[in-house]
């Protein structure tokens, strides 16, 4: 584990923000699940809304408010609230409508994630075809009055605990990983700044003093070595450190040579900075570049847009088609086969022998 993901002891700052939204959300779902003697709906609704707001504030903090963050918050709040409605709704027809709201807000998130073709496809397939079929079945199987199926839940307490323990685990791992990545990234950034300051000095003696003695814990190269979670970068940093000590201090060009070494160190640190959170596949794995830069391309070599995110291909449907019929030709054929088999199977199951 390069980042020590499972070795470190969780800090209070990591698990404290999770507890309150999870407890409130669990209580809300428990109160709202259908049962014969139902609790007042308003209690559950208030708790649930409070949990969503708290989760938004504590878990998805973001420094700036921009149209993107506003859209993200509204789409995800809509998705989560209508998801909760789907789970707790008595009437199956209303549950189906809540599901279509979940799908629509997920489609909004897809648009934010630069996937317009998927948005259109999901709306057409889910909100169009599947919801209509569900409503058709609900109409066929509609019953009058209350029924056991709609007004009772199986083990509401146990299922709520199961679901929220799973959610807590997922969120905790996410939070932990996020924080740890941030810590390492900030430390690397600080060291890069420090190195740039050293490189700006104009005498080798001053540089030597700033860098520290070789073998010392606080020496610049040693600090980098400790910080890098990757062996190859660690060896390279060590090599640069040795080259640094090998420079002849009395040479007239010593200062240029030192700057070259420091620049090498900065380049290494930048590589490490971009590698954080990157799990590379084996180097000889064959990948095509039909669907964007293949996963073997180092992260810092990916083209970026103005926000520092990787640039997506502009023509989404065309590139998706290239990817599907280039990289994924066999899976596409298998998917078509699966659809055919499912159609035949559905007809065979639902066929009524007279």
């Amino acid at each position: 584990m390069p980042l020590g993901l499972f070795s470190a002891v969780p800090t209070a700052a990591e698990w404290l923000p999770l507890v309150l939204p999870l407890l409130l959300g669990g209580a809300a779902i428990y109160l709202l699940l259908p049962r014969p003697q139902a609790y007042p709906k308003s209690w559950g609704a208030c708790l649930g809304l409070l949990a969503v707001v708290l989760a938004g504030v504590l878990l998805t903090r973001s420094g700036t408010v921009s149209p993107e963050t506003l859209l993200f918050w509204s789409f995800s709040a809509l998705a989560i609230i209508s998801g909760a409605l789907l789970v707790t709704q008595h009437n199956p027809a209303r549950a189906a409508l809540a599901f279509s709201l979940v799908v629509l807000s997920t489609c909004g998130l897809f648009l934010l994630l630069a996937a317009p073709f998927l948005m259109a496809a999901t709306i057409i397939i889910y909100a169009g075809a599947i919801i209509v079929t569900f409503l058709f079945v609900i109409m066929l199987a509609s019953q009058s009055g209350l029924s056991d199926a709609d007004d009772r839940s199986r083990e509401p307490l146990l299922t709520t605990i199961t679901g929220f323990v799973l959610l807590g685990t997922l969120l905790f791992v996410l939070q932990h990983y996020h924080n740890r990545m941030n810590e390492t990234a900030q430390a690397i950034d600080r060291l890069i700044e420090q190195t740039q300051e050293v490189a700006a000095l104009n005498s080798v003696a001053a540089m030597d003093e700033e860098v520290g003695k070789p073998g010392d814990e606080e020496e610049l190269f040693n600090q980098f070595k400790k910080l890098f979670p990757w062996d190859d970068l660690r060896h390279k940093a060590e090599q640069v450190g040795r080259d640094w000590s090998g420079i002849n201090r009395n040479d007239a060009r010593a200062i240029e040579q030192s700057r070259v070494r420091l620049d090498e160190l900065i380049a290494l640190a930048k590589t490490a900075r971009h590698r954080l959170g990157w799990l590379p596949p084996a180097e000889d794995t064959p990948f095509s570049n039909l669907s964007g830069p293949p996963p073997t391309v180092e992260f810092e070599n990916v083209r970026r847009d103005g926000h520092g995110l990787p640039r997506m291909p502009a023509d989404n449907p065309a590139y998706l088609g290239r990817s599907l019929f280039g990289d994924f030709l066999l899976p596409v054929e298998l998917g078509g086969m699966l659809l055919l088999v499912a159609t035949v199977g559905a007809i065979a199951i639902a066929f009524r022998r007279s």
Binding site: Q37, G83, V87, A96, L118, I125, L140, A149, G292, H307
Partner: protein, 142 residues
């Protein structure tokens, strides 16, 4: 303006997945159980789309298309099964099928009675206003 971190989208995906899981375990209506499974798939799709975005690669989006395909197959088969099960027991309640449980398991019994169904208000009775005019019999053209 900075872009949202990947972490935010993963949180939303995880919440949708967990809600779907709770719904699938707790609800007894077959249709709602299947809707909850579809919601879990939506949570997974958000994850894939977010990873695709933050890698600049379309493979995640291609995976979502396969998820959608399999979900469509699943919906077709599931609805056919639900129709067949409904024809057998005249109910969408999964607990009607608890004869299929493991040998040692206790059966689920509903002890708490359902509350009486709310009485529907009677249809309004409209008094005829005025006198109904005499209709002229039209002759058939056939």
């Amino acid at each position: 303006m900075t872009a949202l971190p990947l972490h935010h989208y993963l949180v939303v995906g995880a919440i949708l997945f967990a809600l779907g899981l709770i719904g699938f375990l707790a609800r007894r209506n077959l249709i709602i159980m299947f809707l909850c499974v579809e919601m879990m798939l939506q949570g997974v799709s958000i994850n894939l789309a977010a990873f695709a975005r933050y890698r600049g690669n379309l493979q995640g989006q291609a995976f979502i298309l396969f998820i959608v395909t399999v979900a469509a197959c699943e919906a077709a088969i599931a609805l056919a099964l639900i129709l067949m099960l409904f024809r057998r027991k005249q109910s969408l309640d999964v607990s009607k099928w608890q004869d299929l449980r493991e040998p040692g398991e206790e059966p689920t019994e509903d002890v708490e009675p359902l509350p009486p169904a709310p009485r529907e208000p009677p249809l309004p009775h409209l008094t005829p206003s005025g006198v109904e005019p005499e209709h002229r019999r039209e002759e058939s053209h056939v």
